[in-house]
Symmetry: C2
């Protein structure tokens, strides 16, 4: 997940920074706990974990947990443990994803699998995943454990589904949305839901927070997938055209292929299904997704999910936090242009 530094408000800070500021003390506690609990007598574990944990991720998921808890009137401190647990789950999935995708670059740095190799990346992912559950046990809510264990299973299902859609232009929009809902949105949803749940919020508010997270997560992934075909993305610390080179069939490709003439279809089949790709292919793919309006259409769909996310917040108390969550959702559409 990439969050643009480029788009700032008039005050020079992004809506995500502003949300950070509203829960600054809680977030500082989350950061402290993350660094404390990724510790191990086996030095390679914190070394490798730190590489990713301190690489400038926005901690968006714990931010949702903290904001949801406070927005639901929580006055305790257990949400801090949940925030750290959720960042560990996210970090574990990134470590495993980068091995699965053989990625070389994340957040502008070499990936852990490139620096230390695949073996430690897999095992440190497993370690962080276990630590996440230890933190949840410390937080003491069986309901939250249920939410996050289920989300973790759904994420893994989404990742396996995604393997099937690689090299496969028969992937439908509905297949794609199912993958995105599982591999990305499930953890956004669970992050927000966990915050409301630890706060002891009534079930309608818990449901509202979950819906916000789910829709926000889908919108984020759609924008991410559009950015993979954008020249702007090089400046955002991710390898350009990663999805294309991995022959992932994301929404921009599905739409561009659907709208392609016979020549363009031959190109897509060769580049995505048959291979091998040639040097000029990425540039041509970018032209096609632009020309066919596939990027515009992907943005339009993301906008729809942002609207749904904002609507979901209606039952929550009118407050600075709620406004900030709305601004974060709207900001997600603007990032990267």
């Amino acid at each position: 997940m990439i969050v643009a530094e480029a788009t700032k408000t008039a005050t020079g800070t992004s809506p995500i920074d502003q949300l950070h500021a509203l829960v600054a003390a809680d977030m500082e506690a989350v950061d402290g706990l993350i660094h404390e609990r990724m510790g191990s007598a086996v030095a390679l574990i914190p070394d490798l974990a730190r590489h990713l944990v301190d690489s400038g991720g926005k901690r968006l998921r714990p931010l949702l947990t903290l904001a949801a808890a406070r927005l639901c009137g929580y006055r305790g401190i257990e949400h801090v443990k949940l925030g750290a647990a959720i960042e560990f789950i996210h970090t574990a999935t990134l470590l495993h994803d980068d091995v699965v995708d053989a990625s070389a670059l994340r957040r502008g740095k070499s990936t852990a699998n490139m620096v230390w190799g695949n073996k430690p990346s897999i095992l440190v992912g497993d370690f962080l995943f276990s630590r996440a559950f230890q933190l949840m046990v410390d937080a003491g809510s069986m309901r939250v454990l249920d939410i996050l264990a289920s989300a973790s299973a759904i994420i893994a299902e989404g990742e396996v589904m995604q393997l099937k859609s690689a090299n496969n232009l028969a992937t439908t929009k509905s297949d794609y949305l199912e993958v995105v809902s599982a591999k990305t949105a499930a953890l956004f949803a669970a992050s927000a839901e966990a915050g409301a749940t630890i706060a002891g919020a009534p079930s309608d508010l818990i449901g509202a927070m979950r819906d916000y997270g789910q829709n926000l997560g889908i919108a984020f992934q759609l924008i991410d997938d559009a950015l993979d075909y954008s020249g702007r993305q090089a400046q955002m610390g991710k390898s350009v055209g990663d999805d294309f080179r991995e022959a992932k069939v994301t929404l921009p490709v599905i739409i561009a292929y659907e709208r392609a003439d016979e020549e363009a279809r031959r190109f897509w089949r060769r580049a995505i299904e048959v291979g091998p790709q040639q040097d000029a292919d990425l540039k041509r793919a970018i032209s096609y997704v632009e020309e066919t309006g596939a990027i515009r259409e992907t943005h339009a769909r993301a906008s729809h999910y942002v609207d749904e996310a904002c609507l979901a917040l209606a039952p929550l108390p009118d407050s600075e936090l709620r406004e900030s969550l709305i601004a974060v959702a709207e900001f997600c559409i603007g990032r990267g242009y």
Copy 2:
């Protein structure tokens, strides 16, 4: 972990079979739950999981959980969920281990990574790990969640430690025992402890069951590591000399190297630290571990841990189950000769 079919008692069944028989109905319920909960709409997940789950593993860890619960007087049914959860954790670690070690054969079958590739093996491991926590949530004991989340973190630490000892003849016996305690014995200990805990046993009995599991786990791994240098192992469904080829520095190697003359030391340094290995190297390594008494010494140490395991059971009620657990521990020394 390999359990020999070869060594049977006079009645034709092994002590493990006899323990199975004592908790047969519970174990059948565990098997049913395993097959139910590894299900997913994403067909590749149960296909891959079934490959390993149905490959003839002895379910030794869930067996410990069931036996510990019943031995502590448990009359409920939640221990069945814990047994399934523990088998999922074990299966997840096997899937990830086989990717990390690039293993080709397990329990006499091609490994999942060989059949489906590394990507699905990593992700299905993650899925089963998540399912394990869902099952523990269903069982409803926060204390058991704590035990198994901690054990999972320790297993991952042990696996990372083990990476450091590969290609490294400076690995000490104490380093080795630390790895074995973490990567193998921690889950044996947690399996037995979880059973006693769900039964609501007093803390001394919980501690006794944990100690039994911990010592049994160390003994099992010692025997496993000795078997890797045994001609008998081919018939047991594992690739012969796996540890040697992966340049793992296990106890037989540590002892053989310690007792080696200068020529043998040169051999070990080339084969384990420098590489590449040659065709005749495994045969030579097997000769060295035999000649130096390293295998005998490894067995003697395993016997010591079996004795400790049996002693640990002293506070448990005198019963058929307790006798059966003692017989299982003693049997572990005999397997494979």
